[in-house]
């Protein structure tokens, strides 16, 4: 009996892009294109048995390496579809696991959403997605800076110095609370300021979910996770601004990391 096959959809782009990854997500089937008019979908064949919902769910519980590997292949195929002849083409990246029973179904998707996809690609042309994350490296340093420049904290400290020990004990507690509150406030201002400055270098900008240490694998907590859609001509300016800001925030106990270009996962909603 012949095993049931499906088609895994990676991304949609304009015809004529040259970038191409041969190996598909199942590790054996080659990727290929399905056309409609001047749009094309990058796809590859998969076994429905391997990629059906129950199976993925089972793997997410028992075999996470499988998901890790597949997610990476998904990303690789899209990146290769995005980069060709040394330049970056507009692509609409799909989320993990968009699978169809026939090529015809995918063609119908292209047909039905034709103008929508065209518009998104038009919007994305000449633009790149970049990611920028900020981490807190030295909490003491930051606390010191907040303490030094905050009037309320200074006043409280002076007050403590002028009262008797019993009173001072309670006021120490108040001071701790005050410091923690002011640090939070300062951190928020700091994050917004940084985000606004980088946003100015971009066409569109998003604040993303903060990832836990276990996910980032870093000792330092992430305090800001952002993504930007930037026009090609402005990438260098964005990087320069990021590096300038990094020098500045290092003095406060933070650092940032950026990466790109990414397929525009964060900016191709339709």
């Amino acid at each position: 009996m012949k095993k049931k096959r499906g088609f895994y959809l990676y991304c949609i782009r304009e015809k004529g892009c040259t970038g191409f990854a041969s190996e598909g997500i199942d590790g054996e089937s080659d990727t290929f294109m399905i056309h409609h008019d001047n749009l094309e979908a990058v796809v590859s064949g998969v076994s429905i048995e391997e990629f059906k919902s129950e199976e993925i769910e089972r793997k997410s519980k028992t075999d996470l390496n499988w998901i890790k590997t597949k997610a990476q292949t998904h990303e690789t195929v899209i990146e290769k579809a995005m980069v060709g002849d040394g330049k970056i083409s507009a692509v609409i990246p799909m989320s993990f696991g968009n699978i169809f029973r026939s090529k015809k179904k995918i063609q119908q998707v292209l047909e039905k959403n034709y103008s929508n996809f065209r518009n998104i690609l038009e919007e994305l042309r000449g633009k790149q997605e970049w990611s920028l994350k900020v981490y807190l490296k030295d909490k003491n340093k930051f606390e010191q800076i907040v303490k030094e420049k905050n009037k309320n904290i200074k006043e409280k400290e002076q007050e403590i110095g002028s009262v008797d020990d019993g009173m001072a004990f309670f006021m120490e507690e108040e001071l701790k609370e005050l410091i923690s509150k002011e640090m939070k406030r300062e951190l928020n201002r700091f994050k917004n300021d940084l985000f606004e400055k980088l946003k100015q270098q971009s066409i569109s900008a998003n604040k993303e979910k903060i990832l836990e240490k276990e996910v980032t694998g870093k000792n330092d907590p992430m305090i800001l996770n952002t993504s930007y859609l930037i026009s090609e001509e402005n990438i260098d300016n964005f990087k320069k601004e990021a590096m300038r800001l990094n020098q500045k925030i290092t003095l406060k106990g933070f650092y940032l990391e950026y990466s790109g270009p990414w397929p525009p996962y964060s900016f191709s909603n339709y």
């Binding site: 996470l64 890790k68 990246p93 696991g97 169809f100 990832l211 996910v215 590096m243 990414w262």
Partner: protein
Amino acid sequence: MPEQIQRSIQTTNLADILERVLDKGIVIAGDIKIQIADIDLLTIKIRLLIASVDKAKEIGINWWEQDSYLSAKAKDAEIEKENKELRDRIDNLEKKLDEY
């Protein structure tokens, strides 16, 4: 300040990829619906990284060194740097695991 500059150009990591591939991108009503939405993706990612460390320990190799994805990667920084970063990350995770 070369160190700072280096740090700021560090490249993508697994978290970056999973964040995007599993959590973003367009979903079209395909024929097969993969429902991993009801499981917290973050939980998946955490377990994923822990699992990788376990596996590496268990079979005594560094999985990231054999990861063709990483060696094929051509983002904004060199692979070496990324490998070092990953090694540091794994070391950190191992330290954490040992604490349990």
